[in-house]
Symmetry: C2
Amino acid sequence: MSDLLPFAVTARDGAARAGRLDTAHGAALTPAFMPVGTAATVKAAHPEAVAASGAEIILANTYHLMLRPGAERLARLGGLHRFMNWSGPILTDSGGFQVMSLASLREIGEDGVAFRSHLDGSRHDLSPERCIEIQHLLGADIAMVLDECTPFPATEAEAGHSMRLSLRWAARCRAAYRERPGHGLFGIVQGSVYPTLRSESAAGLRAIGFDGYALGGLAVGESGAQRLAMIEHAVPELPPERPRYLMGVGKPQDIVAAVARGIDLFDCVLPTRSGRNGQAFSRHGPINLRNARHAEDPRPLDQHCACPACRRYSRAYLHHLVVAKEILAAMLLTQHNLHYYGALMRDLRMAIRAGDLAAFVTRFEGEQAAGDIPPL
Amino acid sequence: MSDLLPFAVTARDGAARAGRLDTAHGAALTPAFMPVGTAATVKAAHPEAVAASGAEIILANTYHLMLRPGAERLARLGGLHRFMNWSGPILTDSGGFQVMSLASLREIGEDGVAFRSHLDGSRHDLSPERCIEIQHLLGADIAMVLDECTPFPATEAEAGHSMRLSLRWAARCRAAYRERPGHGLFGIVQGSVYPTLRSESAAGLRAIGFDGYALGGLAVGESGAQRLAMIEHAVPELPPERPRYLMGVGKPQDIVAAVARGIDLFDCVLPTRSGRNGQAFSRHGPINLRNARHAEDPRPLDQHCACPACRRYSRAYLHHLVVAKEILAAMLLTQHNLHYYGALMRDLRMAIRAGDLAAFVTRFEGEQAAGDIPPL
């Protein structure tokens, strides 16, 4: 615990803060959004395009990579950074969430989880110790503790039972984790929508001591109000000098609301998945390029956006590509959406540094509510 | 006929020649391979990547574009070049081949072909005059005459009947075509595998007069020997000062053989389609990245290749992407394959200029026959 992952809070505005995370693979300014590179690729994007979008840190999925190509194989190939040609920081999740959502025949016990691969039905075990070993083999800059993703909804008793199992696993992960400069291990606060459980989880994790603290078990079906209540409740119970990560969130408005409440890190498949489905994010809210209103519109998706899709192509062309199911549609809209998220995070950091976040949030919400520009 | 599309033969080596085609959208050195941009996109490739591969001219499909987004709509949007962000030369085919291979309920008559769209069953007519009008609306630098794609095999009587219909359509296309500087219309030699019919077709087209001459109705099922025999027979019957285009060909070895016999232009979906199917071209022949032999191979696909896939990634990573059906696999392998074709055409041009083509062909065939490097 002597060499915590370097993290500096450089500005505060209310509960929000701007900061800087320094890893063995370089820095990431916070608040930061991490594009999801599930299977060692941010889908439909060259890593150069991911970096050009403003993203400085990405997430990769332990569950997918342990199954294919396999953690030991990835280590023999020099680790995830070299494999996927991403030289910046990488955070890997623990695999716990995907075991619950993708794998079959799951058996959870005190020692970990056994499951069958969704790819080929092969049998695998994931214990806290193996989870950490895999993330070491991948070469993660930031590793996550194995947790049980508590189903939603859950009774307080169920959520408490699950959270305490995750706490015991967290202690075992910490013990198994090898400290190295520029690397870190994050704990995960669980407890569903129950404030007392969230408090108990946060206290337990603080007692163990982590490089950063995540809020887990959210974005799983609870209401937006419940999620914000949990964030507001949990954030003050986390060490103020350590990074805070809201897992799996989310929509632009959810990110803005969470940043205002003190969250530093985010990940979500939304910009990439939406890009593959013909949906673009914009300052005026989401735009469905499949809609026939765009079929003859020569204007760019967003005249204020500097991404290649907006600088070089019309809405009419993007609509055509989406309707024709062309791969270039996924490529251009993914890049646009990552660019949108990158610009949003940069704007949030600037607003916090300027002490101007409240005005930014008001302007942001007004623009989002205004909706897309009218058809020509 | 006063302003033929500028084409200069700058070097000869046996029957082969190197040259330069000058269009309203810039020049293309020949022999040239045209990547296929069926639906106004070279599939899975940014136009910048297509240009970086060495391609100077691309092909787009009239059939696909007349159905979606539609020729008049494309014209209102400023034409194909602006729509798809390709500033170089574009050749459009006539749509005849795709009507035969994709559309349903085809009815061919003296006036043209009526058919139903493979997309929505809608009814369309394609006459020689409409075919030229569509290619004008698209803004093609090089347009092709409407021809009937003679089925293979066909009797000499069937092939003759079909070829003469195509000749009458060719004359109507020429009459409908509006001459503009830097633009041109190519005739298409038909006649299946019958030398006398090929001669009759070539003579008929010469009498009408075109900016260039294509060989059609090949790469449709005939043997390689039959194809080469047709090329060797037809090339001497075409005007030596005009470009010659072998439609729909092909594999690297087929291109090399045809260049040696005097062909200047090629198009084929092979590099792009293969790229989406996990197959890479290399100096040592095709490589199937799906094969498990690559799963832990840290070497590049081709150590002599300067494309991004070869400079930045291992065979192991490309194998992983192919097996995981990741879009990035299609992106990287498409770019590699286009790069391979671009380099092959550049090498062919250099060999012709150096008077060294025979030695190049011998070396090329030896390398191709040698096969891929052995596994580690």
